[in-house]
Assembly symmetry: C2
Homo-oligomer: 459 residues x 2
């Protein structure tokens, strides 16, 4: 282990500079004008995998953005770790709220500010650098290592499922290791043992067949904005329960013991509110903030637009209004089932004179890693080696839709080893990643491989 650490210590500035290089590429998967940036990003990752010591690297084209695959197989008898990550990032808008250019990474107070700094370039890149340091140490690697770095996670991985199905032999492994989640803090390390599923739809509400003068027609024609607001207002009841019929049918309720364990994680509601600048928290009655974001399903409006939104005023009664709405799901809610229930319910709320149509964007299933699995135990032991304490198992609020598919197709467990923080502004202006977390991750990962190999040999 000493050799790996020495190599890491000697090369830390280079590791950081390479990450900054990756962050300069605006690999926004949702925007077609960035198609070339996606290709460029894939090429850079290929080079980095090769120079780190992969003995085979390939860029696989898909109907969307390409998948980068790399491997170093030293002994078929060893257990194999498949590292998953994604090189695509969320759109950076609203640009005016960034304090620095999202694609010109800026270091301030030991933090890297850039789109993708934490989600997920900074995190998957730790694995390439940890792998490089293990190879460079000259010691035999405890595991075979495979990498699959995709370019469509932020748009729902539409082409990854067919890729996995077609390349089961290539991707064969004993565990899937993902760094795309957060820990509580470097002082209180934690491991996400679950991610929520996702259903994401877009709603189009149509009133009159053209934009109307709100003076001439106002008061006599149902306004699609008002209709849309009425529909959205009906999606939660007075206790902030979601009103979609059958929405909670398959929710696996956590036991009192599980909830008691969750409650042990250090959390201050006051600090949470103060950090967000809100006077009071909000959410489903009967649950704490950590439960609301961890073990409960939610419904959020991610965007709304209609009518005149420019400077000044325009007295229009618009023809259409739109919303983007998503649900986070928990075991055992099915993404497709909830999508259908959500769409049916919203369409059923159309009032007189209004047509409501909803279409699915993308979705993904919830996922839970059992804490008695070898995968979790290896991750916990790695954390203990480096941080000197046991990690707290927590349920994360985000979604990594591909987890359930990985398990289904490859028959192995996913384990999360995330080094982000909740304050990293994922999907928001001023996304950042602490340099200390980046280095801590690189240091921890080799321990995971060591423990996973040892536990696999025993088990």
């Amino acid at each position: 282990m000493a050799n790996w650490k020495e190599f890491q210590e000697a090369n830390k500035d280079r590791f950081l500079n390479e990450l900054l290089e990756l962050l300069r590429i605006p690999s926004i998967s949702a925007r077609s004008e960035h198609k070339d940036d996606m290709l460029k990003c894939a090429e850079v990752i290929k080079e980095k995998l090769l120079s780190a010591g992969a003995d085979k690297v390939e860029i696989y084209p898909t109907p969307g953005h390409p998948v980068v695959y790399g491997e170093r197989i030293t002994d078929p008898a060893k257990p194999t770790v498949l590292v998953y990550g994604h090189y695509d990032v969320q759109p950076a808008d609203p640009l005016e709220l960034w304090h620095s250019d999202p694609f010109d990474p800026t270091i301030k107070d030991g933090k890297i500010f850039a789109r993708g700094a934490c989600d997920d370039k900074g995190q998957f890149y730790m694995h390439i650098k940890a792998f490089e340091s293990m190879v460079a140490s000259g010691e035999e690697l405890p595991t075979n290592v495979k990498f699959i770095i995709e370019g469509e996670e932020e748009i729902g991985s539409p082409n990854l499922a067919p890729f996995i199905k077609e390349h089961k032999e290539l991707l064969k492994c004993d565990v899937i290791l993902i760094s795309d989640t957060a820990m509580i803090s470097l002082d209180t390390p934690s491991i996400d043992v679950g991610v929520r599923g996702l259903t994401y739809i877009e709603v189009e509400v149509t009133g009159p067949n053209r934009d109307l003068h709100s003076g001439v027609y106002g008061g006599a024609v149902n306004n699609p904005i008002t209709a849309l607001c009425n529909i959205i207002a009906q999606l939660h009841d007075e206790n902030n329960h979601i009103t979609i019929p059958g929405f909670y049918d398959n929710v696996l309720e956590s036991t009192p013991d599980e909830r008691a364990l969750m409650a042990e994680a250090p959390f201050s509601q006051e600090e949470f509110n103060s950090d967000l600048g809100i006077a009071k928290e909000w959410g489903e009655k009967g649950f704490t903030t950590n439960e609301r974001t961890g073990i409960r399903p939610t419904l959020e409006v991610n965007g709304i637009w209609g009518g005149y939104t420019g400077e000044g005023s325009k007295t229009v009664l618009p023809s259409k209004a739109f919303a983007k709405i998503s649900c986070r799901l928990v075991p055992n809610q099915g993404s497709h089932e909830i999508e259908q229930k959500l769409i049916s319910h919203i369409e059923s709320l159309a009032p007189d004179g209004i047509v409501v149509k909803a279409k699915p964007h993308h979705g993904g299933e919830p996922y839970v890693t059992p804490i008695d699995s070898i995968s979790y135990k290896a991750a916990a032991a790695a954390i203990h080696d480096v941080f000197g304490k046991d990690p707290i198992p927590v349920r994360g609020g985000g979604s990594i839709p591909i987890c359930a598919l990985f398990e289904q197709e490859l028959g192995v467990k996913v384990v999360f080893l995330g080094f982000g923080l909740d304050s990293d502004n994922l999907h928001s202006p001023n996304e950042k990643y602490d340099i200390a977390n980046f280095y801590k991750g690189i240091e921890t990962i080799p321990h995971f491989h060591k423990h996973f190999a040892a536990l696999s040999a025993k088990g």
Copy 2:
């Protein structure tokens, strides 16, 4: 009268071409980048007034867009007609819904398609051409004529009030004549005897101090879009009455006789619905469509926006959401009073964890022309001369906020002589004005001047 008509007949193609020239200038008052177009438009109007026979024309600068004034005073003893119009137009977006360029007027099926074709360039320009034909006839004009053509009607005429107050002597007159309204049809001529007042505000709803990841925070933080939708959903009750406390306090209820008279205007609910492509009408319980748009106050959301509104999906829980909301007012609701009530009510609906701020855009008072006034009688007689039947007095739904101010400052009545149609797509894509209506207006206006002079002499 014969000479005017001959001159009009001989010059109708030129009249039309001049209007098209005016329509080519994108005089959008709400957009600062069109400041030069506004100046150019004012200059063209000045030239046209001079060549039509005005003996004094001046462009008055204001802190916003300039006012064009012109006059022909032939005898101080004659009654004076002050024609009001506006050369500014609404923004043309959404541009993709136009079938032709909004500022490259296109003639199809006898209609001029262009932004401002009806509202109000096509209508105020009828007065300049009618005036030109009266002057060209060589006969003595029955009235003194003054013109005030402003450039800020579509943004609430912020600089016209001070202008009127400072130029009371210049604007002194016996009636204010405005063509900025519609008639039922050329077969069923009508005259608007009232316009509604207006209150227009913008609402800013703030939740967390930054955009958040909807997975990490969703379910535990009040979403400003949902909060805004809840607020908007509370502004109407189940009978579509407006719920703002005190909103109806000063509404002058129409008598059963007045409502019976209104009901005589030809109207087909089926045709109304079919024209708009809606399955069912909507509105305040207990009132007909014409009453809802004529004698009842309304509240409409003119625009809404928040979160991610681009292509694809983004799982954001936004920091802010916005709406533009306006009310149409009827006698004797006060614009400022309703504005305060609306703002107080909306701000009072802020739920936990949300800050709601509303600011006024602009407003205007409702206005009614008595049908026993000389002004109305002159307009009705002019219509009878040209159309061969009495006009139906109707209450229009739109707002011309400056009417109440004109009466207050100048002490005379406003009369509407509008030749638009409800189907002219004011404020919407594909605004149009029928060429037949343009010519009919030019033909009718001299009759108004003749009758107004005669009735004034008698009265």
